[in-house]
């Protein structure tokens, strides 16, 4: 079974891949937050260009990255159509009494560019680190244990549940079932989802039992080995510097 794995290309080599995971997560997160709060469309555009530059440096296959970024774009695209009609401001056209505003257009572009820049950065960050490493790094960064554990289990069992689902689906298709949007089809589909939930619930119990049998007492503990080098400090200083600059330049 092929899983759509976010870290499928994490074993490649590039400056971003070599970037220490801790420094990477901190500086990328900083940059993402900074770009999301940018208000000037020119700065937002530079931010978008910069995040594409980072993506290029990471040498991730363009298809892999663009497929995901495109999805976000399609999701946000309607804003470009709706906002010029709804936001008030300078009029650039008038279609049978409805005014199309420049401010709406700019505002929509701003939102889209901020979102695309954030998604590109987040994708680059996640795709260049093994996912288990990302989680351990969060743990090392003292993110609350419960959160990290939830992430860990989601990551581990999403595959088990996907397999379970596809096995059930196959066995239903073997018995001649095909999903149609009628009452029968939907009620069978609903039953199946219910079964998946019950099965997962049973599994949770067994997983917990097995954790207890290995001495689990509520505290998650793993070993993390991370070592920052000079290069990591330089790179993260640059990124954090840029993150601050996009907000501070107007005061200089």
């Amino acid at each position: 079974m092929e899983y759509p794995e976010i870290d499928a290309y994490s074993s490649m080599d590039s400056p971003i891949h070599r970037f220490d995971p801790r420094a990477k997560i901190v500086s990328f997160t900083f940059l993402i937050f900074s770009l999301v709060f940018v208000n000037d469309i020119r700065v937002a555009f530079s931010g978008l260009v910069f995040s594409f530059f980072i993506l290029l440096v990471s040498r991730l296959p363009p298809g892999f990255a663009l497929k995901r970024i495109r999805m976000v774009f399609f999701f946000l695209f309607p804003l470009l159509l709706v906002m010029p009609l709804t936001v008030e401001g300078r009029e650039i056209a008038n279609i049978s009494g409805i005014s199309v505003t420049l401010d709406g257009l700019i505002f929509a572009s701003l939102i889209i560019m901020r979102a695309l820049a954030a998604v590109t950065l987040a994708l680059t960050m996640l795709a260049t680190t093994r996912f288990d490493m990302t989680m351990k790094t969060l743990y090392a960064l003292k993110i609350p244990g419960t959160l990290v554990q939830m992430l860990m289990f989601t990551y581990r069992y999403i595959f088990v549940i996907t397999d379970e689902f596809s096995r059930m689906w196959e066995s239903m298709e073997c018995k001649g079932f095909s999903l149609k949007a009628n009452y029968h089809g939907l009620s069978i589909f609903g039953n199946m989802l219910g079964m998946i939930i019950i099965k997962s619930y049973d599994r949770t119990r067994r997983v917990y039992e097995s954790m207890v049998s290995k001495g689990y007492s509520g505290r998650p503990r793993t070993l993390v080995h991370l070592k920052m080098s000079a290069k990591d400090y330089v790179l993260s200083t640059c990124m954090v510097g840029i993150a601050i600059f996009v907000h501070a330049y107007q005061f200089i």
């Binding site: 288990d132 990551y155 581990r156 595959f159 067994r206 997983v207 039992e209 207890v212 049998s213 290995k214």
Partner: protein
């Protein structure tokens, strides 16, 4: 002899009222290898849940090396008994193989160096060196089973409990797993308690057998148990193929004192008897042979013909 596990008057009912265990009493000595057999739903898995602290307050007395299991500290308990359950996906819950195998040792409070040493040792025991960084969902079923075993071995328990270790394995993995387990018992002196339906593998893994069917129905050497066909029938059990074949050979006039239970043993026994009778054995058919054979077939094939 040191008593590794001692259970007295143990009862258990599930919350829906299913009575799973009734008045269980058994003693397993240090260094023994014991197999628990019983039909589906006999309570084997339920019994094992009592040995690893899942069932916190057992209704009855469960002692591990003389200490009540409910009184033991977690670190002590996991150092004494390790249980490997059937479905490896339930037991590998961490992101990577390393994390799973290191989980127990970390909880035992060992330092990093020791944890890593144990992970390496456990992985090499199960033949998976170099798998540390793999993520569990990319492993095959057989590999997952090995990792699940390694994750318990890394705690270095004195008693190893395995629930159906050979189920769903291909013949090679099955054979590897069986010899791995018997090695752990013979070389490392680990007491092993195994539940399984695989009677052909049983003789290698058992000095002694308990037949469980809600209660302990019988106890004895594999040979004693397999010779008692009415016991087998009542508990929907089966005898190894080799054993049944030699029962039939007996009807044809072949005589040996010990009926072999496994293929290897059969070769040994045959060689010995043929050498002992000047290089050949004599088989024949008499009038009563057919009757004897059909009697043996009826006794041991109770699953197939459903005769009383």
């Amino acid at each position: 002899m040191v008593e590794a596990i001692k259970v007295e008057d143990l009862n258990y009912s599930y919350s829906d009222g299913t009575k799973a265990l009734e008045d269980i009493g058994l003693t397993i000595y240090e260094g023994e290898k014991v197999v628990v057999v019983g039909p589906n739903g006999a309570g084997k898995t339920t019994f094992f849940l009592h040995l690893n602290g899942t069932i916190k307050n057992p209704q009855g007395d469960v002692r591990v090396f003389g200490k009540r299991i409910s009184d033991m500290k977690i670190e002590d308990r996991i150092h004494q008994v390790g249980v490997v359950f059937q479905d490896p996906d339930d037991q590998l819950f961490m992101p990577t193989v390393f994390d799973d195998v290191a989980f127990g040792p970390i909880n035992m409070g060992l330092d990093e160096e020791e944890v890593e040493k144990r992970v390496n040792k456990a992985l090499s025991k199960v033949g998976l060196e170099g798998f540390e960084k793999k993520v569990s969902h990319n492993l095959s079923y057989g590999q997952k089973k090995r990792v699940a075993l390694a994750a318990v071995l890394s705690m270095e328990p004195k008693v190893l409990v395995l629930d159906e270790p050979t189920a769903n394995l291909d013949p090679k993995s099955r054979a590897d797993f069986i010899s791995l387990i018997s090695d752990l018992n013979e070389r490392d002196g680990i007491t092993t308690i195994i539940a399984m339906h695989d009677v052909n593998a049983l003789p290698t893994l058992a000095d002694r057998v308990y037949v469980l069917n809600k209660r302990i129905v019988a106890e004895g050497s594999p040979r004693d148990i397999f010779s008692d066909w009415s016991l087998l029938k009542d508990n929907s059990l089966e005898a190894p193929d080799v054993f049944k074949l030699f029962k039939v050979l007996n009807c044809f006039g072949y005589s040996s004192d010990d009926l072999p239970l496994s293929f290897d043993e059969a070769v040994e026994v045959l060689t010995r008897t043929i050498e002992g009778t000047e290089g050949h054995i004599h088989l024949h058919i008499h009038e009563h042979t057919h009757k004897e054979i059909s009697h043996v077939m009826d006794s041991y094939n109770h699953h197939r013909n459903g005769k009383k």
